[in-house]
């Protein structure tokens, strides 16, 4: 078994936190993990890409080969589109429906969404709406981690435990918000899969 993920977003959106949850969940599930992160200059509001590889066997390298990603998980619609060469017809794309506009030439959102909907296994997530419902807009990345969960080779409980662990030193209120956000994302994805499959 191997499962390769491209995590995309903009610096500051919590891409790495989402990655940490999947990594920790995967370890609990007995998988091997390699996760490549971006630090330094690129984090300042720029496009951020993280390669996350899970496998039952040793993983030789940190980077996902082209055409072999099982999933793009993107915090932002435009950012998901950058990495289509990593996809094949059986891949999935789980992506926020809300743009992060910090550049003057951001294309019209409808055009971006139209292009996204043509991608295989596309699931758009109202992460902001669900995060607000969970108690804080800042939990949008947790919603997206939850929305990716049904597709991952990791039991939901292991991921939820990892989400709890990540929030633990931020106080019980944040822990509760993050847990709700994760679960709302999970439910939304399950509804979504029924529609798309």
């Amino acid at each position: 078994m191997k499962y390769d993920i491209i995590l995309a977003g903009v610096g500051g959106q919590g891409v790495l936190s989402a990655a940490v949850i999947i990594v920790r969940g995967a370890i609990t599930a007995g998988l091997q993990v390699r996760q490549s992160e971006v630090h330094g200059m690129a984090q300042r509001g720029g496009a951020v890409l993280s390669h996350l590889r899970l496998s039952g066997a040793p993983i030789p390298g940190d980077l996902v080969p082209l055409a072999e990603a099982d999933l793009i998980l993107s915090m932002e619609p435009l950012e998901a589109l950058r990495y289509t060469p990593y996809l094949n017809e059986k891949s999935r794309v789980v992506c926020s429906l809300h743009p992060f506009i910090n550049i003057p030439d951001y294309p019209p959102l409808e055009e971006i969404l139209l292009r996204l909907k043509k991608l295989p296994g596309f699931l758009g997530v109202d992460d902001a709406g669900l995060a607000k419902q969970a108690g804080s807009l800042r939990a949008a990345n947790m919603v997206l981690a939850g929305a990716a969960a049904p597709f991952l080779p990791i039991p939901k409980e292991a991921l939820l435990e990892a989400a709890d662990w990540l929030s633990r030193d931020k106080g019980p209120e944040t822990e509760g918000i993050n847990r709700r956000a994760f679960l709302l994302g999970f439910e939304a994805a399950q509804g979504g899969t029924k529609e798309t499959t």
Partner: protein, 532 residues
């Protein structure tokens, strides 16, 4: 199983801790920064000392002192930082290293966060010291522990070369039993620590003699792994090149048979293993993360009966990072075809944060420049380098830490007017002070703008080596005229006032220094409440 999930940098730090480290020094620089950050957090519990220094040179010299006192030491920096530390580094190869000294240097192929791609293996070779190059987390751990041992065995510094992808990758490793710290004991022979010409000549001869021992070590080291298959062609990989080759190996074996393979991870290059491989094949492909270091050795200047394919012949990309796909042409594998790329997507480059004090400083500087028919602004390395991009487009040069001041002085002395130099507080303390002394002495006609955000922001908000309040007395102490020294507060509401001050000082024919002080907004948010 005692498995830990760590960043590559953290794996290196842990290995140093477990290897009996006493003191670690460094200067922050992507992708090396997290080594010291891990040690800083661990230091209280493990009874060690981990300190950021003014620059890589002072860090390296502190490490030399630890070795002289008989204890194990680690010094960390990014690849271009080694340029700054090159003087003590190269000379230290001639010393009788006492406590193990390991230099962890992190290269940045692909220039994710750097101004060049220089491959530090050339530096190790230049200094004539051993270099170890891990390609996964267990190797980082094991080879860093080994590096301390080799350093004491051979009495030279040992380099561990990291690269961005490894430094910033998270994966598992299994640590081993930790060693005790060494006791303090002065190096026995001062002749091995005084590089007077007469002594240095002897030490150089001794180093060249030791180099045979290094070579004997790398020849026998199992990490330099040769697998002969009897195929007519072979592959030599180094660093992460080995990982990407392995990624393709199954497919390659299925389609074209398994080539012979030598992976090199310890230098000096294992000559015998290379000769054994070369004797068994007609064609060699060389895949190296970084510059064509081994490949240049192999090619030399004279014709050889072997066909070599690599970076120098274009089969492997000469610049940028390797990946599992861009090495496939060299292996004769077809390109993997994913979905087509989406066209016409705008780039999203990094930029100054909303509300960043640098933005306000640059706005004032840009307005001040409008009063002159022409002007020149030199700058430097740090978050403020993002002022090169729109909407500011405020700076015109970025070369190396501290260069802005010296370059402004030179441009002014060449006759250009007006010239301003812009750099941050940490860059100023790293390499700007000496250049400012020069400018004061020369009475250079230039305006220096120090953007003091009270942190080393770009690399992750490390503490600046001197607190903000000490900068003013430092600058005035260098001999800057107090009448042409100003402290400004970069805020929107002060824009006109700040513009006026900068313009007035640019009009002045002499040296002016303007200290623009406001804390980085991200650092302020991260600071524990109540701590100034």
């Amino acid at each position: 199983m005692n498995q830990l999930i760590l960043l590559g940098d953290e794996a290196l730090a842990l290995a140093a801790l477990d290897g009996g480290l006493s003191c670690a020094y460094g200067y922050p620089g992507t992708p090396s920064t997290e080594i010291m950050e891990y040690l800083e957090k661990a230091q209280a519990g493990r009874g060690i000392l981990a300190r950021w220094c003014s620059n890589e040179k002072t860090a390296y010299e502190a490490a030399l002192g630890v070795s002289l006192a008989g204890r194990r030491t680690l010094v960390t920096m990014k690849h271009v930082g080694l340029n700054v530390a090159a003087d003590p580094f190269i000379n230290s190869a001639l010393l009788g290293i006492h406590g193990g000294l390991v230099l962890a240097v992190a290269d940045d192929p692909g220039m994710h966060s750097s101004q060049d791609e220089q491959d530090s293996r050339f530096y190790a070779d230049f200094a004539k010291i051993p270099c170890l190059e891990p390609r996964n987390h267990q190797e980082i751990y094991d080879m860093t522990r080994l590096a301390f041992q080799l350093s004491e065995q051979f009495k030279v510094p040992v380099m561990v070369r990291m690269v961005t992808r490894l430094a910033h990758s998270r994966a598992a490793l299994i640590p081993r039993e930790a060693e005790e710290q060494r006791r303090v004991s002065k190096a026995p022979d001062p002749r091995q620590w005084m590089l007077l010409p007469a002594l240095a000549r002897q030490n150089l001869a001794a180093l060249l003699e030791s180099r045979r021992e290094f070579s004997a070590f790398t020849a026998a080291y199992p990490g330099n792994d040769l697998r002969l298959t009897g195929a007519e062609w072979g592959v030599i990989t180094t660093g992460l090149g080995g990982n990407y080759f392995e990624e393709n190996l199954e497919e390659l074996s299925r389609l074209a048979g398994t080539p012979s393979w030598l992976h090199i991870n310890a230098y000096p290059v294992p000559v015998e293993k290379i000769r054994l491989l070369a004797a068994s094949v007609k064609r060699l492909v060389i895949i190296e993360e970084g510059e064509p270091f081994v490949e240049r050795y192999l090619r030399g200047l004279l014709e050889i009966p072997l066909s070599l394919a690599g970076k120098l012949t274009g089969e492997v990309p000469l610049i940028g990072e390797l990946n599992p796909d861009n090495i496939r042409p060299a292996l004769g594998l077809p390109n993997r075809r994913g979905l087509p790329p989406e066209s016409g997507l705008p780039n999203r480059p990094p930029q100054l944060c909303q509300g960043c004090p640098h933005g306000d400083s640059y706005q004032a500087l840009n307005q001040a420049r409008q009063g002159f028919p022409q002007s020149l602004v030199t700058s430097d390395i740090g978050c403020y380098a993002l002022g090169a991009s729109p909407p500011y487009s405020a700076i015109e040069t970025i070369v190396c830490m501290g260069a802005s001041i010296g370059m402004a002085r030179g441009a002014a002395e060449a006759g250009f007017y007006p010239v301003a130099a812009v750099l941050g507080d940490s860059t100023f303390l790293h390499s700007g002070i000496t250049a400012l002394v020069d400018a004061v002495q020369a009475g250079a006609d230039m305006t220096l703008l120090i953007l003091d955000n009270s942190t080393v922001a770009m690399t992750g908000w490390q503490e600046t080596i001197l607190p903000s309040e000490k900068l003013e007395s430092l600058i005035l102490g260098l001999g800057v005229d107090p009448a042409h020294f100003h402290k400004i507060l970069p805020l929107k509401k002060n824009l006109e006032e700040n513009t006026g001050i900068i313009r007035k000082e640019m009009e002045y024919h002499g040296l002016s220094v303007i200290l623009s002080v406001r804390e980085c907004i991200v650092a302020a948010k991260r600071r524990p409440k109540g701590k100034a």
